[in-house]
């Protein structure tokens, strides 16, 4: 009995400690992401903007959050080195869970965020975007592509394509280029990104008269073995398989299809980017895969070369589309903030939000993931999806 009592007291003490740490302790200094420009050295008139972000930094979806964080950190360093507006960047872990995302968002509010570089994945972003809309924080998501993130919210913007955009864009592209007669789809039916693209693809394919001969699904719990799905597509005689999913399961599908001797045209969307840079991946498996992606790490522009070089130096990996989205978000926010004359010292976050919204809907931005990007008042980005085909382990424009 008394063991229990001791334990209850111990736990209670722990809770009080945690509560204190939570409510009182959040004033703890959070170092700016750029360790080498201490705040003290800057002139007093320097504009400092606190940018908050959330994304999965631990757990199964950590690949995406980590990539965005890395890309954004490089951009923040560069922006701060330019000596104009100074960004202080803080990314909180949401473990790809809407509940934790809300906690992360609240932690950022307490931290004193001025604007938000969104949430990385769709399901948690729906929650944080709703909060940011209610609280009037400017919100630009790097990669949450669900339309529900932006629907009816004037201050929520996307750097990536929306799911319908990708779904119908893929169907149109396939139809226009006569890429396949019989189409199969493999999608992850417990994931909103994958389901969202699949739904609009099927709808558009119906309009365009594309024949869908097989639809196969998998879930988080069955994302290792695809032999049945692959042979079903093969049996149905599909000559093109549409893969609206991230590159991790896609790499397994390519591998297993190769073992089964099945070689249709594979068609992927932006989540497929990154497949070539997985350590140890046999890129010959991805030969001939068509990807509708706004970004390519092989792009020869000086902007991209600089980014890829810095990324490799700092993190030892080749950046994927998520990292590029994170990088672009910071620069887009930098451009808008500079042009709109944002200064948190004299503006509260609501005023910043209004000014940024006005700026975003009127400006044109060139970034890694597209040139001359503009944003509509509904928050969607307009940029051209690039269809690339993988040849000899590299993207080649089509």
């Amino acid at each position: 009995m008394n063991m229990k009592k001791f334990f209850a007291i111990f736990l209670a003490a722990m809770m009080i400690f945690s509560l204190a740490a939570c409510s009182g302790g959040s004033t703890e200094p959070v170092a700016p992401a750029d360790g080498d420009t201490p705040e003290g050295e800057l002139p007093e008139s320097t504009v400092q903007i606190h940018i908050g972000a959330t994304g999965p930094l631990t757990g199964g979806a950590a690949i995406y959050g980590q990539a965005v964080k890395n890309g954004a950190e490089i951009a923040v360093e560069e922006v701060n080195a330019m000596g104009g507006i100074q960004f202080i960047f803080q990314m909180e872990d949401d473990t790809h869970d809407p509940e934790k995302a809300e906690n992360a968002y609240n932690a950022l509010v307490d931290w004193g965020m001025d604007m938000m570089m969104g949430t990385v994945t769709s399901a948690p972003a729906e929650v944080t975007a709703a909060d940011a809309y209610a609280d009037r924080y400017f919100f630009l998501t790097p990669s949450a592509s669900s339309t529900n993130v932006i629907d009816g919210k004037d201050n929520i913007f996307q750097m990536c394509f929306t799911d319908p955009n990708q779904g119908s864009g893929s169907a149109t592209y396939i139809s226009e280029n006569n890429m396949g007669e019989k189409i199969a789809i493999i999608w992850k039916n417990d994931d909103s990104y994958s389901t969202g693209i699949r739904n609009t693809f099927v709808e558009k394919a119906g309009e365009l008269g594309l024949e869908i001969v097989a639809e196969q699904t998998f879930t988080e719990a069955t994302k290792t073995d695809f032999s049945v799905q692959i042979s079903k597509c093969q049996e149905a005689g599909a000559d093109l398989v549409f893969l609206p999913m991230y590159y991790e399961p896609a790499s397994l599908i390519l591998n297993q299809a190769n073992a089964a001797g099945y070689a249709p045209t594979w068609f992927g969307v932006d989540g497929m980017d990154g497949i070539l840079t997985m350590e140890g991946f046999d890129t010959s498996l991805a030969e001939g895969v068509v990807v509708l992606t706004p970004y390519s790490a092989d792009d020869e522009s000086a902007l991209n070369q600089n980014f890829v070089k810095k990324y490799q130096e700092k993190f030892g990996e080749i950046p994927n589309q998520f990292a590029a989205d994170g990088y672009d978000c910071i620069y887009a926010m930098y451009k808008a903030a500079t042009e709109a004359g944002i200064d948190p010292a004299s503006m509260d976050h609501e005023a910043i939000c209004d000014a940024m919204v006005a700026q975003f809907t009127s400006m044109t931005f060139d970034g890694l993931t597209g040139a001359s990007m503009t944003w509509g008042s509904d928050g969607t980005v307009s940029k051209l999806p690039n269809a690339v085909v993988i040849e000899n382990g590299a993207y080649v424009g089509m």
Partner: protein, 291 residues
């Protein structure tokens, strides 16, 4: 594709579950604890083999041995630090600690090896042979062979050696075993060491068949394998083998003939029915209630 082909692909998935289930069932049978961290030890084993083989180009055989050594040591350390102090505690306390260890391993892996997926270059060529019109990949054949070999070795070890006898005694009755002069603590530690060594082999085979390695690679197969172990009768070594194979086959047949959307629900549904008919699993010993 014919029914037989689905059966074969089910067997290849099942053989991976089976080899993981062997480790689960052995630890459960002797230490009477659900080692939820087993799946994560598998992940560590796969990473060690990945670094040794793919990144540093060591001989595949040496890489596997190295992975086994590392996992065995890891198993011993985990057991010493986290489970041994709880020998007298209620079994649920140990279960929670195992979950803590599982979180710990996953997050350590995340810090050390980053979240970027690694593609495991199979140590066996990713090719298939034709046997009577069926295509069977070498990995499947190897996994099943390794599984059978391990099963035979384990059964012989437990039935024929002195240490095995001690394990059986501990499994039957800890207190009585101690009175007979068996060092219960050491016996359980050895069980963990063997289970973790097996986990390394399971990790290598899992990632050879499904070459995708992230810090969470082990968790879902771990839960599936645990289900397989219960299916076959937890604690029974041939049961784990049978349960694993059946689970893989049922999963693939459900995907092929019913629906890929709810194949999980079907697998678990079959499990429930089996347990209602045979409450101790397929090959489990029915426990008689003592009054």
């Amino acid at each position: 594709m014919s029914f037989l082909n689905y059966l074969v692909s089910g067997l290849s998935l099942g053989s991976v579950y089976a080899i993981i289930a062997l480790g689960y069932t052995m630890v459960y049978g002797i230490a009477k604890m659900l080692n939820f961290a087993h799946g994560d030890v598998i992940m560590v084993g796969a990473y060690v083999c990945f670094f040794a083989f793919t990144r540093y180009g060591l001989n595949p055989f040496i890489s596997v041995i190295l992975a086994m050594l590392v996992c065995t040591c890891l198993g011993i350390v985990i057991e010493k630090l986290a489970y041994k102090p709880l020998r007298a505690a209620p079994s649920l306390a140990v279960l929670i600690t195992a979950i803590g260890v599982s979180y710990l391993l996953q997050n350590l892996a995340l810090l050390f090896w980053s979240s970027n997926p690694k593609v495991f270059n199979s140590i066996i060529p990713n090719e298939s042979v034709e046997i009577g019109g069926l295509t069977v990949s070498y990995i499947t054949i190897l996994t099943i062979v390794v599984c059978v070999v391990i099963m035979i070795l384990l059964t012989t070890f437990i039935n024929r050696t002195k240490l095995g006898k001690a394990m059986r005694a501990v499994s039957e009755d800890k207190g009585a075993a101690q009175l007979m002069g068996i060092d219960v603590n050491t016996t359980i530690s050895v069980t963990f060491a063997i289970g973790s060594g097996l986990a390394a082999i399971a990790g290598v085979l899992l990632c050879s068949a499904y070459p995708n390695l992230t810090p969470t690679t082990g968790s879902m197969p771990g839960i599936k394998a645990f289900t397989a172990a219960v299916f076959g009768g937890i604690g029974s070594i041939p049961g784990a083998f049978l349960g694993g194979l059946l689970l893989g086959v049922i999963e693939n047949l459900a995907k092929a003939y019913i629906s890929t959307q709810i194949s999980d629900a079907i697998v678990f549904g079959v499990l429930i029915i089996v347990l209602l008919v045979k409450p101790a699993g397929l090959l489990g010993k029915p426990t008689r209630e003592k009054v």
